[in-house]
Each structure stands twice: as structure tokens, then as C-alpha cells.
Symmetry: C2
Subunit: 454 residues, 2 copies
């Protein structure tokens, strides 16, 4: 009775799967401030050519460079687990599997794309990458990848996290990155914020502005993003590709695939390779799981909006709560994003991807049950997928169905123990659905939206 | 070119290797306060029969119960890595391999024995286990194991660590353990300390006293220890057994095997299965690595001494710095132990196991180089083995020898980032060899020693 289903190193995917090749309609293009599609040239100031091509490629399969595969082999292929102890704890006839992406050195799926992005930038002669980070999952992944390819990495870390989560910062420094509390005095954006608000605790939006400003200014410096964009989701498809092979090894196939969904790279990573089968007629349900307090897919609108909080990026057609929506302070920091991947959004709009929202307390309850049955302490983001799987497993118990459920365990909770502490102390709560705040931020959608859709 | 060498689940060891069967001389028995060997009956108050038998067994191979193997399969077999990137960073002709025990849910090798101990106690009808913990590696491993077998776990955590390292405590609570700051008011030992020293910050010795007192008092409660004892080292031999098979798969065999050595379970776990070959005439060097500030094997005496700081336990014949020796505050908490496993000690005394001591700064330098080349951030204990391997690899570079070096990466450093922080800030130092303190504590060795050896 197998617990872990392991692939050989030789079975690691050789190509990324590009979902754009199988979407029923062409993806809506990103638009510039003038309302026209953004040109590859315009993106060249902060991204290398290879990634811009991937962002727009119609090819179904894109080869993974051997240099990237060599680094991924440090932890990939990642194990697929049959969650027998969780099934037993639930008393469910459902078969539950999870892909364990917590095995990467940074502790999540994020290095899958960080490594690819570092590689292509190195190839393009770039010396330095800038990025932003909130709680630090993405910043630490890029720090690791930059170190392995000999690139300098500058991370602009939201000031409140910089001081409250010192251990993710230490992790980035251990991998050689320079980490700055944002707003910093190193950029015009940072300095202007500090002049107006000397005590600013920062935000992801400000940190993005700082990182992008520096990348645009310097020829030897590019910018790297950890989710949302097409090429980022592309790099994560190794997760789903491996999971498919692993399920094949035990003669199973999922009825439903679940993943947490913030910017979409976690979800796209595991779900898109199964979408390829769905597009070919196979029955499989793909479920993006989000917090009820930041319900982008379940309560947002499908419209062109900015990717950042301030309005510096191109406009992406996506489900959004409005770019200036400030989500309540839940502990799943990676899911506190106003928008979503354009690809995930379009597939959801077309009815090909489902979405469900779960409240914070249910996610922690699910995380603790998972830790106590399967052993691994999950990241607060991952507990969202677990909670949705438990709902479905309990439904199977009632109906007597033996369905196959697969989810992405996107990361471990080793740097989130203070959140578990607060949960045990009864200090966490479910936030009310922020209806008023969402109505207000949706009123600030760029006018373009109405031009486009009218 | 393989990076990870993986075994199938089916190749997980079916038996533990008992080094006592191959030692040239019978192991020196533990002695009671009267100077006579401790009887199995006396140990029965706090240990189940099966573990007492393992403590004294002459059998070379002891079967691992299927129920234990089933839990170990959650993370075992653990991967063996060829450290190609570290080799490259060092420019060494040496081939470096490491066994990655950081993949367990608790993040170290400790669950290998915690699971076995929980199983045998459950079988014996025990309802509750007590134990002590310092920084929390052992306590969290026993919490996990107790949870998986439905046993209550009470952990007495040294008070200063309870407050300074809240995240290991949260981890234990997530796995359902009750964690008490020691000294507590729950035991006579704790209360008497608190009466005399209301502000006591605790010590491992006091925490052991509390855990043992409760286990001895209650029929449904036993005590569990995370290192030092023979049965604990026995349970860790899965590490070395797997490593041997994995090296066989790539046609290699180590010239030298390294592991950090505090109480000895880390070292015994990887080294003993290779000792079996050494006893059969094969050339292989086994190297225990310890801190220069707590140099038990390299500077201690081989004598009967107490296992705890206060003098409650039976006397073990071991290398010791004196049971009341208080090691300097290095960050490798797991290596701050005055004594050592009786088995490791006897083999060292007989010239069959080597020992080397490394200073704190060299271990952190090694840990950072490892993190920057191999990706994984090692625990401060594990960096001791890395430092010793780097010394040998550099020697190979000078001599041009292509030797095969194997070490145990016993754990990750996710809960030790504050130590890395202090290292980067230049706040860590090498402690002077504590010659005076050791001379003083050695003067307090139990008198028995002289009776026995004269």
C-alpha cells in the first residue's frame, strides 16, 4: 500500500505545458495606458526576450532548458501522496491525493518559476533582478534562484512584514539577497511616499513600484514577478504534469483538482495540465479556492484593471475586486490579491474553471486536521485547498461516492507558526464579506473597462 | 547525472541494525546508585518492555514493526544527494554525498525513534508519554509521533526556550501536545526549584527530572528520551542502512562518514551500519563532529557519569565533561550535552570511531556555503558535519585525492534563522575552550568511577 508516489529524476517533465494552445478563445491581451495592446518592445525594459515570448506564445509545449531542469532536480520531481490518514480521519470513501510542493528549499512551489526566470535573465546578460515581496515566500524563492545562477537579487519587502517576519528576511539574506524595507530611500517612488508619510508601513503596491522603477532605470537590471503573468503560470505546470504521471502509476485519475488561488500560479500549475485533458473531452473539474475575505473569482467582476495597487502596470483582463481594494488581514498573505491571472480568469469566465471561497477559521481547522493526520504542517495558503477538499470528501461520505480528489500542497507552514498560535489562542476570526469596500474599489476601475465592454 | 538518489518505498529497511552484535567487547552496563548493573525491572517504571529488551539485545537485526514502517513511509526512504554544487564551489576532487533527514515533518532525524517509541508504548497499553525538550526538536518529534498513535504527549520545555523559541512550541501544540514551561508547578521537582529560585529559567536537567517524576508516578504514563540510549540509536540506523543501498545504486562507497554528535543518535544512525562493514574488515572511517565549546569526545574523560545534570538517572560509562558542566550558549542546542551515547563512547575509546571538534564561526560559514550551493538551509547542528566535510574536501584538493565523503544532514534550519541573523550581524563568536569549567565539573564525577576503575 503505497503512501508516496515517486517519479524518477529521468521522468521529470522536459516541456512546460502552455494552456493558451488549448483555450477555446484567444487570451485577452494586456493593454497599455492608451488602450492599445502592449507591445513586446515595451516589456523589454524589464523582462528578457525569452520570457516575453513565453508570455504570448501559441505553442502547446515549450522546452525546459537543461540548465533549469538541473536546478529543479535539487527537489523535483516532488512526491505525490495518497492521504490515507486524512481519509481515515474523515471516514470518507473519497480517495485524496496531494502533490507536495513544500519540499523545495524555499518551502513552496514558487522556486519553479524563480529558477526559470533567473536562468533566462542570466542568459540575456542581466546582472541583477529586483522584486517585491510581502510575507517573503516569493522573495526567498527568487533569492535562492538568483544565488544558484550568480545573479544579484534586490528584494523590496513591505516594511511591516520586514519587521514582523524577520525569519523570511534572514532566509533571503542567507541566500545572498539584499533585502530593503519598502518604502525605502533608494527610489523616487519610495522617497516620495516617505516624504508624505514618514511612518508608512508600506504595501505590496509601493514595493512593486520601487522594484519596477529600479529595473526600468538600469540596463543590467530586470524585474521578476512571482505570479499572475502567463509565463509564471507556464513554469508552474511541471506540478500538474508530474501529478498526472504519478496518478497514472497507480491507475487513478482525479474527478476534481483543487488549489489555492491568489495570483493564480499555484492553481494554474497543478490544474492546467488537466485542462489539456478537459479540452480534449475528458471529465475533470478544476476548482480554484480563495478566501471569503478576498473573493476575487467568486465576487469580483471580469474587467480590465491594473495589476498593482497604484496603477503603474499594463491593464490585464481579469476578475478583480478593484486595484485599490485592501483585503482584510488574513494570515494567508499569498491570497490577499485584488486580481487574478488573466488565463485563470478567462477560463473561469468561460465556465471551464470553478471557484469556491472558504472563511479563515475553516481553513485553520482543516490545516490542523491535516497536520495531525498527515504530519506535515501546511502553509495558510495551502489550507484553503485542504478545506475545500474536506468539504467535498464529506459530501462523498454522505452520498457514498468514491471520487478521486487531488490538491496542491503548495507550501509548509514553518514560517507561519505565529498564525497557528493565534488560531489556538482563539484570536483569529472570520472576516465579514467586505461588500462595502469592494463596491468602493470597483468604482475606481479604469474607465477603459467601460470603453472596451460597451 | 543524478542529483538525488532515491529508494522505492519497498526498499525501506525491514530491520534495525544493532551495533552491539558487532562490537569487539560487550557494552559496559548502566549502573544503579549502588554500583550494580541496573535490572530491566528497574527500568520498567518508565519504559515499555520491548524497548528495555532492545536496550540490551545481543541480536544483530531487530525487525521493524509494520505499524512503524507505515508511519516512517510518510517521509522515508529519505533522499541521498550527491552535493555536486558544493563540490564545484569548493573545487574539490572529493565526491560528497549527504543523506537528507530534514524531509521529516518535524524537520530532522528525531521522528525515526519517536515513532518507534510511541508505537511500543501504545502496544504496552500506555496512554501518555512525558519528555523534556530544549530548543524543541525532540519535543516536536515526539508530539508528532504521539499524535499519529493516539497517545497524549506532555513536553517539559526549558523555560528560557519556551519563551524565546515560541514556534517550536506552536509546532508541538499543532500536533496536539501539552507543552509546559519547566520548572513548572506540576511536579515536586519543579515546585522545589521554584520555591528556591522563583525566577529560574530552567535547564534540561530540571526538565528531565519533571518528565521522569511524572512517568514514574503514573501507571498509564511512560517517559521517552530522544538520544543517548542504545534503543534510540538503534531506531536511527535506518539512516545508514538506506544510505548504503543508495550508494550501492551509484556504485560508490564512503571513505569517511561524518555526523554531528551530541547525545549520539544522529551519528550512530548514519555510522553504525557502516561499522558493520568495518567490523568485517572493510576500510571506512567514522567521524563524530562536535563543537569545540562542548568537546565531549575530544576533551572529556571516559568514565561512569549521570545522564542528567542533577544525578537522577542510572550511571552510563561514557565520555563526559562532568554531569554539571554547563556548555557555552552556542546555537547548536542539540550538541550542548555533557555526555555521549555509551555505544559511541566505547567505540571511540577502542579507536574505532574518530572525533573532531569545530568552532562555531566555522560551522556557520560552512552552513552558509552549503545553503548557497545546495539550496537547503541546514540546522546549526548539521553545519558541524558540513564544516568537517569541507575540511576534508579541501585536504583532498591539496592532495589531489578523490575520496568519497558521506554526511548526515540531520535537519533544516527553518526554526534557527535568528542564529543565522546573528551570524550575519557579526554577533556570534567562537567560545574559548572552557578548560576551567570542565576541570571543575570533572571533579564532581560520581565517586563510583574511581571505585570501578581502580
Amino acid at each position: 500500500m503505497k503512501t508516496k508516489i515517486l517519479l524518477k529524476e529521468a521522468d521529470m517533465p522536459t516541456h512546460w505545458y502552455n494552456v493558451m494552445a488549448d483555450m477555446p478563445n484567444p487570451p485577452a491581451p494586456p493593454l497599455g495606458p492608451d488602450g492599445n495592446p502592449v507591445t513586446p518592445d515595451a516589456l523589454g525594459a524589464i523582462f528578457p526576450q525569452a520570457l516575453i515570448e513565453q508570455e504570448m506564445s501559441p505553442e502547446r509545449w515549450i522546452p525546459i532548458p537543461e540548465e533549469v531542469r538541473e536546478v529543479l532536480r535539487l527537489w523535483r520531481p516532488s512526491p505525490l501522496y495518497r492521504a490515507r490518514r486524512l481519509e481515515q480521519a474523515l471516514g470518507t470513501p473519497a480517495r485524496i491525493y496531494y502533490k507536495n510542493e513544500a519540499v523545495s528549499p524555499a518551502g513552496s512551489h514558487k522556486p519553479n518559476t524563480a529558477v526559470a526566470q533567473a536562468y533566462y535573465n542570466k542568459q540575456a546578460g542581466i546582472k541583477r533582478l529586483t522584486t517585491e515581496t510581502g510575507a517573503g515566500q516569493w522573495g526567498s524563492s527568487l533569492a535562492l534562484a538568483g544565488q544558484l545562477f550568480g545573479l544579484e537579487v534586490e528584494v523590496y519587502m513591505v516594511k511591516v512584514s520586514y519587521h514582523q517576519k524577520p525569519y523570511r528576511r534572514s532566509m533571503m539574506q542567507t541566500w545572498g539577497a539584499n533585502v530593503f524595507a519598502s518604502p525605502s530611500d533608494r527610489t523616487n517612488a519610495g522617497r516620495s511616499i516617505l516624504e508624505q508619510h514618514p511612518d508608512s508601513e508600506g504595501s505590496l503596491g509601493i514595493a512593486i513600484s520601487e522594484a519596477v522603477e529600479l529595473a526600468a532605470q538600469r540596463d543590467d537590471t530586470n524585474y521578476a514577478l512571482g505570479s499572475v503573468l502567463n509565463h509564471v503560470l507556464l513554469h508552474q505546470t511541471v506540478i500538474g504534469e508530474e501529478a498526472k504521471k504519478q496518478l497514472e502509476m497507480v491507475g487513478d485519475y482525479p474527478d476534481m483538482v483543487f488549489a489555492p488561488c491568489g495570483g493564480g500560479s499555484n492553481f494554474g500549475g497543478i490544474a492546467f495540465p488537466f485542462f489539456a485533458d478537459k479540452a480534449a473531452g475528458k471529465e475533470v473539474q478544476l476548482v480554484a479556492v480563495e478566501p471569503t475575505s478576498c473573493p476575487t473569482l467568486t465576487k469580483g467582476v471580469y474587467a480590465y484593471d491594473f495589476g498593482d495597487a497604484i496603477g503603474l502596470t499594463p491593464l490585464l483582463k481579469m476578475y478583480t475586486l478593484g486595484h485599490d481594494f485592501m483585503p482584510p488581514g488574513i494570515h494567508a498573505g499569498g491570497l490577499r490579491y485584488h486580481g487574478d491571472s488573466a488565463l485563470v480568469s478567462q477560463l473561469h469566465y468561460e465556465g471551464l474553471v470553478d471557484a469556491v471561497a472558504v472563511p479563515q477559521l475553516e481553513t485553520f481547522e482543516a490545516g490542523v486536521l491535516f497536520a495531525r493526520s498527515e504530519g506535515i504542517i501546511p502553509a495558510p495558503e495551502s489550507t484553503h485547498a485542504i478545506a475545500a477538499v474536506i468539504r467535498e470528501a464529506n459530501r462523498c461520505t454522505e452520498s457514498g461516492e468514491s471520487r478521486t480528489l487531488l490538491f496542491n500542497l503548495s507550501g509548509h507552514g514553518h514560517f507561519d507558526m505565529s498564525a497557528y498560535d493565534r488560531y489556538f489562542a482563539g484570536e483569529l476570526k472570520n472576516f465579514d464579506y467586505p461588500e462595502e469596500a469592494i463596491r468602493e474599489s470597483l468604482a475606481h476601475l479604469p474607465k477603459l473597462k467601460f470603453d472596451m465592454e460597451s
